[in-house]
């Protein structure tokens, strides 16, 4: 059987957390499958990053070429395609990240290989690889089995496991780039950094966060009143920023900010993992949601199942009274 090929992800000179997280899943799976883990790094000037990945004990293959100075989905697809032919890996594992989603499905179609996207766990038993993934924003889990194939493609959700401790140094081996010339049909232009706003919510001690449950713009005034009463800053879910109720730089989550306030009050937020990933560092979490099944309650310390608009006015009144 071929190996498990883990594509380590990096951006702007640094490895991304998902690279380490996959090293918590891949070795266990390799053991069950009776194979080994090979890490793949594709980039330019990769020596330092290769060393860092090698510290997890597996062999690291490096495609190190100026052609890969910036991520390019088409180039990555070409490299993976060639390496799948050469190495015949049993599994190709990447993150379900902005990188992974941008080329893995195309690779699956090109090579006619099965894909399970955004696995949260993997299991190999009796010759069958199975993945667990989530549907309906985390309200339903699915077990998906791969039919036998030469190579299984699987992408892993970010943040589902802790990175392991470094083990022993694995060997680093350079491989020639399967791609020789630059592409003309897709090119990287530039990165644009996220906007900075008037308040840096990553530094806030107290955050009052709203989601789609706010329903409309004009309902923000009562939230502002609450925020004022407890000297909190206002943040929100992607649904709240998309709707224009609060500024984009106040979005909490994977595509927004990671916050770590002492108190986080989530109102009308369902708790999609992309949101939770950005606020699970909060010390105390209060969640108010009228749906008792809302995933946000799994990360809450104090929970209120009710209509936020029935709770908040009294909450403000009582807070003012108690705080004098």
């Amino acid at each position: 059987m071929g190996n498990i090929l883990v594509l380590a992800e990096h951006r702007q000179g640094a490895l991304r957390d998902i690279s380490y997280e996959m090293m918590a899943l891949a070795p266990k799976l390799a053991e069950d499958m009776g194979c080994e883990v090979t890490v793949l790094l594709v980039g330019s000037k990769m020596d330092d990053l290769a060393k860092k990945m090698a510290a997890y004990g597996s062999k690291v293959l490096v495609v190190d070429d100026p052609l890969f100075e910036n991520f390019n989905a088409e180039k990555y697809q070409k490299v993976l395609s060639a390496l799948i032919d050469d190495l015949k890996p049993a599994v190709v594992m990447t993150g379900q990240t902005a990188q992974g989603v941008d080329f893995i499905p195309a690779l699956a179609v090109e090579k006619n290989l099965p894909l399970v996207a955004e696995a949260i766990s993997l299991e190999y038993a009796n010759g069958t690889l199975k993945a667990t993934r989530q549907l309906y924003s985390g309200k339903v889990n699915a077990t998906v089995a791969f039919k036998p194939a030469d190579t299984y493609l699987v992408t892993i959700r970010e943040g589902v496991v802790e990175p392991p401790d470094a083990a022993a140094d694995g060997a680093v081996e350079k491989v020639d780039s399967p791609l020789k010339d630059d592409l003309t049909y897709r090119s990287f232009v530039e990165y644009i950094e996220a906007e900075v706003g008037d308040v840096d919510i990553t530094q806030s001690d107290t955050l009052v966060a709203v989601g789609r449950g706010l329903k409309e713009d004009k309902n923000l005034s009562i939230i502002e009143e609450l925020a004022q009463a407890i000297r909190a800053d206002i943040a929100g879910s992607r649904a709240a920023t998309d709707a224009g109720w609060i500024p984009h730089d106040r979005q909490v989550g994977t595509s927004g900010k990671s916050v770590k306030p002492k108190l986080y009050i989530a109102m009308g937020i369902s708790g999609a993992f992309q949101h939770v990933a950005g606020m699970k560092g909060a010390k105390t979490v209060v969640a108010i949601n009228k749906d008792p099944e809302a995933p946000i309650f799994t990360v809450a310390d104090y929970a209120i199942v009710d209509d936020m608009f029935k709770v908040v006015p009294k909450l403000i009144e009582k807070l003012k009274e108690l705080k004098g």
Partner: protein, 262 residues
């Protein structure tokens, strides 16, 4: 600009309990209200904005049941020109690679500059269909797009990465773009548009009509098997505050104040 936009009719499960049917592989969606997938709504708006700026023509493509016609008419009311709805139970809907193949069959052979999809469907959430579709069509793509600039023979796409960082890429047309929410402000359908939409063409086709061998997009062709759906155990260590709404508010206020949290 000749464009296609792929839209999916999805249940709104945000405020409701989801139950798995006795077959173990589908959910009971009888009590849910359905609507256009969030990201697809932005894709429709983006296609209409491009059409308004550059002139052109937008065809809606959707795989789904008859009841999704209301969604399709709504997209046409906003400015899309015609629609194709694929209705066929033989498509393995759990596998985005099969869905992409079926969508491709409705587009292949026609000229186009852009195909827009949503970046993620809120029910299955594979984030895979659009990029797989691009490969099926043999064209360029960019995923998770938060801004589109159509240039001469090219498109400049701003991809949204983690942390809100944008990656700007340039693609030669034709291309598939998977659209991320928040890229624009989806309009409400104007009354006049709603009336006009009734007269626009909505073709309903089967795999046979598309010349697709049903075996090539069915569960036999799919290389993954959906074995089981189940409701994950909700492990909450939260203290649930009970009572009438006002009581709960009062209790929470005391907890916050006494705990020194505010």
């Amino acid at each position: 600009m000749k464009m296609f936009v792929c839209i999916k009719y999805v249940p709104d499960t945000s405020e409701a309990e989801v139950k798995v049917n006795p077959d173990g592989v589908t959910v009971d969606s009888s009590r849910f209200s359905f609507d256009i997938n969030d990201a697809d709504n932005y894709a429709v708006e983006e296609s209409v904005l491009i059409k308004e700026a550059k002139e052109g023509d937008v065809t809606v493509v959707s795989i789904g049941p008859k009841k999704s016609d209301v969604m399709i008419r709504m997209a046409m009311a906003k400015g899309c020109d015609q629609a194709v709805r694929i209705e066929d139970d033989r498509i393995a809907g759990h596998d985005p690679l099969m869905v992409a193949k079926a969508l491709a069959a409705a587009i292949k052979g026609q000229e186009f500059d852009l195909v827009l999809t949503g970046c993620m469907a809120s029910d299955d959430g594979h984030m895979s269909t659009g990029v797989a579709l691009a490969e099926e069509l043999g064209v360029n793509h960019a995923s998770m797009v938060k801004k589109v600039e159509v240039l001469d023979g090219k498109v400049r796409a701003h991809r949204e990465l983690e942390g809100g960082l944008l990656e700007v890429v340039e693609l030669e047309l034709p291309a598939v773009l998977t659209i991320q929410t928040g890229i624009n402000e989806p309009r409400y359908a104007p009354i006049r548009g709603i009336r006009q939409a009734q007269k626009k063409e909505l073709k309903v086709v089967s795999l046979d009509d598309l010349g697709v061998d049903p075996a090539s997009v069915g569960s036999d062709a799919s290389m993954v098997v959906l074995e089981e759906l189940y409701i994950p155990e909700v492990e909450s260590s939260a203290e649930f505050i009970e009572g009438e709404a006002e009581e709960k508010a009062e209790k929470l206020a005391s907890i916050l104040v006494k705990g020194g949290l505010v």
